[in-house]
C-alpha cells in the first residue's frame, strides 16, 4: 500500500544540498521516493550528496543562488517540479554594534533574497506543478527568540516568515502550498569551529528540554511531511521543530 506520506512520483528541488540540513533533507526526500534535483555552490561536496541518495534519476546543478543570473539559469534548466526546499543559508554571530552594511547585504542575500528570488522565478517561469509544496528552512531565531550576536541573522529568518504569508495566499488558487520549518539548533558543520566553544555548546544543549540539539535528518522528516500529500491542507504555517526549547 502506498503511504500518503510517500514522495514517489514527485520531483523536488533542494537548495543548499552539499552539507548539513540540505544534504539530510535530500537524503530523506530520496528515501521517501522523490526524484531530487540538488543544488549548491560546491561541486565536489554536492557530488557527495548526489552519490548518497537512494534510488535513481537524481540530478545535481552547481549554482550560487546569491547571484540572480544563476537563479535564472538554474530555473531554466529545471524540469517541472512538485516541490522546492530552500535550505541554503549562513549563520553569523556578530553583535549589532559591530555589524556593517556588508554583513546586512551578504546575510540578506544568502538567507532571504535568494529564497524570495528563487520562488519568484519558479512561479514566473511556471516551473511548479499544481499542488506543489514549497518548504523554506527558517529558524527559531528571529521568529520565536534570538541569540546574542544574531540580530541580522534573525532579521533574515523573520523576513522569510513574512514572505510566506502573502505568497501562500497568492499561490493557493493553484493549490501550491508554502510553509516554513523553524528549527532550533541543529548539529551541523556550521556550528563547529566558531566563536562558541565546545563547553558552551554542551551547556546550551542542556537548555533544550530534550537535552540535545536536533539532527539534520530530523529536519528532513518534517520536510518530507510538508512535501507529501499528507499535509495537503497546510499552507502558510511555520512548523516549530525545537525539542521544546521555546517552551521555557
Amino acid at each position: 500500500m502506498r503511504s500518503i506520506f510517500s514522495l514517489i512520483g514527485k520531483t523536488i528541488l533542494i537548495t543548499g544540498a552539499s552539507s548539513g540540513i540540505g544534504k539530510a533533507v535530500a537524503q530523506q526526500c530520496a528515501a521517501a521516493g522523490a526524484i531530487c534535483i540538488i543544488t549548491a555552490r560546491n561541486q565536489s561536496r554536492l557530488k557527495h550528496t548526489l552519490d548518497s541518495l537512494e534510488g535513481e534519476g537524481h540530478q545535481m546543478v552547481v549554482a550560487d543562488l546569491a547571484d540572480l543570473s544563476s537563479i535564472e539559469r538554474l530555473s531554466s534548466e529545471l524540469p517541472k517540479l512538485n516541490g522546492v526546499v530552500c535550505c541554503a543559508g549562513v549563520v553569523e554571530i556578530k553583535m549589532l554594534k559591530f555589524s556593517e552594511d556588508d554583513d546586512l547585504q551578504q546575510l540578506f542575500n544568502t538567507n532571504a533574497f535568494s529564497v524570495i528570488r528563487l520562488v519568484r522565478i519558479l512561479v514566473q517561469q511556471k516551473r511548479l506543478h499544481k499542488e506543489s509544496s514549497i518548504v523554506i528552512i527558517s529558524s527559531i531565531s528571529g521568529v520565536k527568540c534570538g541569540y546574542l550576536g544574531g540580530s541580522i541573522y534573525g532579521a533574515t529568518k523573520g523576513a522569510l516568515e513574512g514572505f510566506i504569508k502573502a505568497t501562500a495566499l497568492e499561490l493557493a488558487p493553484q493549490k501550491i502550498r508554502v510553509n516554513t520549518i523553524a528549527p532550533g539548533m541543529i548539529e551541523t558543520p556550521l556550528i563547529n569551529d566558531s566563536i562558541i566553544d565546545a563547553d558552551q555548546l554542551e551547556a546550551d544543549k542542556l537548555r533544550y528540554p530534550m537535552k540535545r540539539y536536533g539532527l539534520p535528518e530530523e529536519v528532513g522528516y518534517a520536510v518530507v511531511y510538508l512535501l507529501s500529500d499528507a499535509s495537503c491542507w497546510i499552507t502558510g504555517i511555520s512548523l516549530l521543530l525545537d525539542g521544546g526549547y521555546t517552551l521555557n
Partner: protein
C-alpha cells in the same frame, strides 16, 4: 601593534569599568566585575573588525590576561 591602543579597544567594550582598571596584566575574567559572556563576544567581534583576526572561543580559552589576548592577536595577524 600597540598594546596601549589594544587595551583601549578592549576597555571600550565595557560600559562601567574605568580605563585605568585595564592593565596588560589584568586577569580580565576574574579582576573585572563587569565581565560577562556578552562582553566576551563583543571583544571577539571587535578584534575581528579592528584587527582583522577571527578568533574562535577555543583560541581565547587559554588566555588569562589582556596581554595574553594581545599576544594571541599579534600571533595570528
Amino acid at each position: 601593534m600597540d598594546i596601549k591602543k589594544f587595551i583601549e579597544d578592549f576597555a571600550d567594550q565595557f560600559d562601567e569599568t574605568e580605563l585605568d582598571e585595564f592593565k596588560p596584566e589584568t586577569n580580565y575574567r576574574e579582576d573585572l566585575d563587569e565581565w560577562s559572556s556578552l562582553i566576551g563576544l563583543a571583544i571577539l567581534n571587535m578584534i575581528d573588525k579592528k584587527y582583522g583576526v577571527k578568533l574562535t572561543a577555543t583560541d581565547i580559552k587559554d588566555t588569562i590576561t589582556i596581554e595574553d589576548v594581545f599576544n594571541l592577536v599579534v600571533s595570528k595577524k
